[in-house]
Symmetry: C2
Subunit: 234 residues, 2 copies
């Protein structure tokens, strides 16, 4: 592991989807918000071009904000970001999302890879709506104890530097997040999902090391969400 791990200091991260149009004024507001970093990522229609375009706007408008790319498709990898986050879906139903896609990418990029600015994220895809399990090919319908066991496996079997609790768009169960944070010893805990208020940011921010705010920034109240969620954890 590199000695320099800037993500260990992150309390608040903004996740921007290169496939979605940004609300007018959001980028400028980001620069003054106090957020620690921007993570570029999404699940559908992520291309080299739309990632590059969004990165360009960020570098021009808010050059002091660190930008990391969360790599979901090898074709969309751009240069010029501060780092790369590589998701490993711990509760995936298919080995592709645990190691298969990564091996495929390594076959192409291994000789060019600089591991010093790479962050491996051990994702736990959790969601009350169990229909999502099908889409993500994840065993997302876990009990609290099962979710905690996956987190321990991520930390102890795979030495994941980050355990990323992902409720994708819905607000998670604080007791589950609390239990995961309790059993994890060294891994840093990210929480993402449904944060759209001071109260929710505050609640999850007290349990996880870092909160990720995404979806709610594309809604009407984005300015309030951004401001309140940063205030809640800073």
């Amino acid at each position: 592991m590199p000695s320099e791990q800037p993500w260990r200091r992150w309390r608040h991260v903004v996740k921007l989807d290169p496939d979605r149009p940004l609300p007018e004024g959001l980028l400028q507001a980001l620069g003054d918000s106090g957020t620690d970093a921007v993570l570029l990522g999404g699940t559908q229609r992520i291309t080299y071009d739309n990632v590059q375009a969004l990165l360009g706007r960020l570098r021009r408008d808010v050059p002091h904000v660190p930008v990391w790319q969360e790599v979901s498709s090898e074709e969309a990898v751009v240069s010029g970001v501060d780092g790369y986050a590589i998701p490993v879906v711990l509760n995936a139903g298919d080995t592709r999302w645990l190691i298969g896609e990564h091996v495929r990418a390594l076959l192409k990029y291994r000789p060019f890879l600089d591991w010093s600015n790479v962050l491996i994220e051990g994702y736990l895809v959790l969601n009350d709506d169990c229909a999502v399990a099908d889409l993500t090919e994840a065993n997302a319908c876990l009990t609290r104890e099962e979710a905690a066991a996956y987190a321990v496996a991520g930390e102890s079997l795979f030495s994941m530097p980050v355990i990323y609790i992902e409720y994708s768009g819905t607000y998670g169960d604080p007791e589950t997040v609390k239990e995961i944070a309790r059993v994890v010893q060294n891994s840093h805990v990210f929480y993402g999902g449904g944060i759209d208020s001071f109260a929710k940011a505050s609640e999850m921010g007290a349990l996880a090391d870092t909160i990720i705010v995404g979806n709610a920034l594309y809604g009407e109240n984005w300015r309030e969400v951004l401001d309140a969620s940063v205030r809640a954890v800073k």
Copy 2:
């Protein structure tokens, strides 16, 4: 990771299968052989009782030889060994062998686990006879480059302390082992499969950090195999 990692000094390991009858005199010969450790493990009919019985014989006859259990079934875990090796099959076809079974075991044993004497092994199941792929649910028919990419993934994504190249009963391709050893930076490399002579032990021992001798110790020439394979790497 614990500071004490005795397996880093292993050059020669004997793998004993608790389900197979030992040749007369093998245990006594082990004590004088110079092998670094015994790994108790197998794939079929491994029970608490047969592991415990073999461990008892080892402790009585050769108490100075370290004995580690390679855990393939949670029901067969015994106490009183020097450590536990936990296999993670990197090229498994089913998530069970990457993380699923481990999560199931963690649900039962997590509170009692002492990680300081646990070694996580990143297995690469390779075999020329591709029929074995079905049995092991592994994608065992890999090109040299694919095998190397799996090894890099094991090291860089999952921080596996050991990459275990397993040709299970057949002698492997030295060029593949060489390529894996070349691309792996920090992980320790185990090689197992088909070592039944000085020449083979010598060849694989020059490429891998540790060679594992197993099957051939159950054959007629076990005394010669044991002696020659230790001499080749010591």
